[in-house]
């Protein structure tokens, strides 16, 4: 397995196992390397659109579907609390984990609380709708806004 893939997997598995973003040092320890080498991989993972960084260039803002910072989209699974980047990604966390879980959020327009149980077969019946604000061609122009 090439080094870029090792770094990507280390990031994603850290999120999956802890619900938290790893630091470059955490990733380096997981892959048996150093933080500078790990940071050298980040731009390529960004180009693949599997990583978004904070302005400091080293802190992970997103490893979609996981969020590196608290958001309104909270997922509980296997006793771990995760933050997702949007409603789509909140279901994506459960899809990535291949585990049942619960999504807690609220309507961005009305503020009404949203709670959804999701099994391995999919979510329970729900009449809620997802409002996608940004056209697909523009999603990664500003993925945090999207």
């Amino acid at each position: 397995m090439d080094f870029d893939t090792q770094v990507k997997l280390a990031i994603y598995r850290h999120f999956a196992e802890t619900g938290q973003r790893p630091s470059p040092g955490d990733v380096a320890e997981l892959v048996g390397s150093d933080a500078d080498s790990v940071l050298g991989v980040y731009p390529r993972l960004r180009a693949q659109r599997v990583l978004a960084l904070e302005a400091d260039g080293s802190s992970i803002r997103m490893a979609p579907p996981f969020s590196g910072v608290p958001t309104q989209h909270v997922v509980s699974a296997s006793g771990i609390k995760y933050f997702a980047n949007c409603a789509w990604d909140s279901l994506g966390v459960i899809a990535a984990l291949q585990s049942q879980g619960e999504v807690h959020s609220h309507c961005a327009q009305s503020g009404e609380p949203f709670h959804l149980k999701v099994s391995l077969e999919g979510p329970e019946p729900s009449t809620w709708l997802f409002h996608c604000l940004v056209p697909a061609a523009k999603w990664w122009d500003d993925i945090v806004f999207t």
Binding site: M1, T5, L9, Y12, R13, A16, A47, Q48, R49, V50, P64, P65, A87, W88, D89, L91, G92, V93, I94, A95, A96, L97, Q98, A108, Q109, L116, V118, G122, P123, S126, T127, W128, L129, F130, H131, C132, L133, V134, P135, A136, A137, K138, W139, W140
Partner: protein, 62 residues
């Protein structure tokens, strides 16, 4: 309008689940990757999500 922005297409929870599974169900595996633009078009069309809004044609990184 929603928060001063135009109302865009709406996606049902079932459609959203299928998108989530397509995008992320293999994300913890070594060979996982984000769908390419042509794949995205087919995925969206298969869920009835069509039109310019769902077209990733200018997706430069995809």
């Amino acid at each position: 309008m929603a928060h001063g922005t135009p109302l865009r297409p709406l996606v049902t929870i079932d459609q959203l689940w299928k998108l989530a599974m397509t995008w992320y169900s293999t994300r913890l595996q070594a060979d996982s990757r984000r769908p390419q633009p042509d794949e995205m078009r087919a995925i969206f069309a298969g869920l009835g999500l069509e039109g310019d809004f769902w077209d990733p044609k200018s997706d430069r990184f995809g």
